[in-house]
């Protein structure tokens, strides 16, 4: 009569999973003043809104996992979301062998280990995919607010540029601004 032995294998996968997503676009700025002056006005406006100026002139604002980067010289905006998570996956799997430490037991152990590793890698990939979905959703949710804020900033920059342009043309007699309608009327005496 033959006996079978229980072979138990335990595997553990520990890894850091990362997810990133970003979207870039160009700001639609009217060239009321020369480009470098428009870039300067935009930088000032964005600093007023909490952006920090970095050494290369790029303005950055970090809000939890979402970073908004504006290059005022090129007029480009990049909104980036990132996340990382440490995952530790552990699993035990049992099998049967005809011997306890012989060739058959070794084969069964090896086969169990390979199967476990494959499953754990699959679980890790699923977790990574889940994290990626979360990051993308988070970025998508933020886009509306970022877009609205940047549109407001561009409008303010355009208004300021128009005032400066008008001042170059002559003496400003009257400025009427309707923030709700988004209109600006400047009366200039030339």
């Amino acid at each position: 009569m033959s006996r079978s032995y229980r072979i138990s294998v335990r595997e553990c996968v520990s890894k850091m999973i990362r997810a990133e997503d970003h979207v870039s676009t160009n700001l639609e700025m009217l060239e009321v003043l020369p480009p470098e002056q428009m870039a300067g006005l935009l930088s000032d406006e964005l600093e007023r809104r909490g952006f920090l100026r970095e050494a290369d002139g790029v303005l950055v604002r970090r809000d939890k996992d979402v970073t908004v980067t504006v290059d005022p010289a090129k007029g480009t905006v990049t909104v980036r979301a990132e996340a990382e998570e440490k995952v530790k996956l552990e699993e035990t799997r049992d099998g049967r062998a005809f011997d306890e430490a012989g060739q058959h037991a070794q084969g069964v152990r090896e086969s169990l280990r390979k199967g476990l590793q494959r499953d754990l890698q699959k679980q890790a990939a699923e977790k990574e995919s889940g994290l990626q979905t979360q990051v993308t959703d988070r970025l998508e949710a933020q886009l509306g607010a970022v877009r609205q804020e940047l549109d407001q900033a561009v409008n303010r920059v355009t208004a300021e540029a128009l005032k400066r342009k008008a001042a170059q043309l002559g003496r400003i007699k009257e400025i009427t601004e309707d923030p709700q309608a988004g209109s600006l009327t400047i009366v200039v005496e030339v």
């Binding site: 979207v23 676009t25 886009l143």
Partner: protein, 343 residues
């Protein structure tokens, strides 16, 4: 009566097929067949090849667009007429080097895609060789894998068939097509290029996989950037007229983003992927600002400035095809697919 060997007969039949004088049904099986090449071709065969090239290439160019009355630059002035009116026929002569014969021997003896791969030196190809390779590419693209030199680097093949070069990173070479008789060939092939770009753009609505759209868009962007760089450098902006013509057909009053991305079942898992997919889908439309910038620059060129005629020619093309309206519609469609600026 001229006698040729079996191999030479196959070679001639393939050549006639490339030049549109033989139906695909009889020629394409010969591409799949492999025959051991002879040490050299007979005098009769070479004579027949020369005759076919001399008559066939000219006939093909005339038929495909050289007959059209067009306006193009000749030196510093604009000349109107058919290709042979714009340029004296003596200057339109095509030369064929030994590379043409080597290619014909190779394509008869080896199935394209098999080893040994025919790889001529890029600089050793004449305008005639390149034109024949273009015709051969058209003939072979349905039948065999042609993802190899010189096809992969040839600017004209890449410009007319960007979808065939979705794989690979080789940069297209436009130097031969923006100088000498290459310019005349490109002028003659303008109607064909218009039709090809309309066909490729129209086919995008049937692309369902975002990876395929990305690959096609990358290929289009690479070839268009290289082409526009080359024509700008050579100051032959009118060679890009086919893009305006194609855009005028594609960007009608009712043009909308669905015409480019309507077939996609998904644009990618990440926003970055989706943005890149949409940008790829709109590769042609995204070149409109560059064409518009040429027009803006043309406006500032004065009568006594250098390049006045060339500038005026592009300006008149831009106006003729309602470039401003096309650029506006292209910008609106690009905006429609910008995740930061939804419609």
């Amino acid at each position: 009566m001229q006698t040729v060997t079996r191999f030479e007969a196959n070679l001639l039949r393939l050549l006639y097929y490339f030049l549109g004088q033989e139906p695909a049904e009889t020629a394409l099986p010969l591409v799949e067949a492999r025959l051991a090449p002879p040490p050299c071709l007979s005098r009769s065969a070479v004579r027949l090849v020369k005759d076919a090239l001399a008559k066939g290439c000219v006939f093909q160019l005339a038929r495909r667009g050289a007959w059209r009355v067009e306006r193009h630059l000749r030196g510093q002035r604009v000349v109107e007429g058919r290709l042979w009116n714009r340029t004296p026929p003596v200057e339109l002569g095509l030369t064929f080097s030994r590379q043409t014969l080597e290619f014909l021997v190779w394509v008869t003896a080896t199935r394209p895609g098999d080893e040994p791969v025919w790889r001529p030196l890029e600089d050793s190809l004449t305008a005639g060789d390149r034109l024949l390779l273009y015709f051969a590419h058209q003939g072979l693209r349905e039948a065999a894998n042609v993802q190899q030199r010189p096809f992969t680097q040839d600017g004209l093949c890449r410009l007319a068939y960007p979808e065939d070069y979705a794989e690979g990173d080789a940069d297209p070479n436009f130097a031969p097509w923006t100088d000498g008789v290459g310019v005349c060939i490109l002028e003659a092939l303008q109607p064909e290029l218009v039709a090809r770009w309309i066909d490729v753009e129209g086919g995008k609505s049937r692309i369902t996989e975002w990876q395929a759209m990305r690959a096609l868009g990358r290929s289009q962007e690479r070839v268009l950037t290289a082409f526009l760089d080359a024509v700008e450098k050579a100051e032959r902006l009118a060679l890009a007229r086919f893009l305006l013509r194609a855009a005028s057909r594609l960007l009608g009053d009712h043009a909308n983003a669905e015409m480019w991305v309507g077939g996609l079942t998904g644009a990618g898992p990440r926003l970055a992927d989706r943005t890149a997919t949409y940008q790829s889908a709109l590769a042609l439309l995204r070149q409109m600002p560059r064409l518009q910038a040429w027009e803006r620059r043309a406006r500032s060129v004065g009568y006594f400035d250098e390049g006045y005629q060339a500038s005026q020619l592009w300006k008149s093309d831009w106006e003729h095809y309602h470039g401003e309206a096309l650029a506006d519609r292209a910008a609106a469609i690009i905006r429609q697919l910008d995740p930061m600026r939804p419609a």
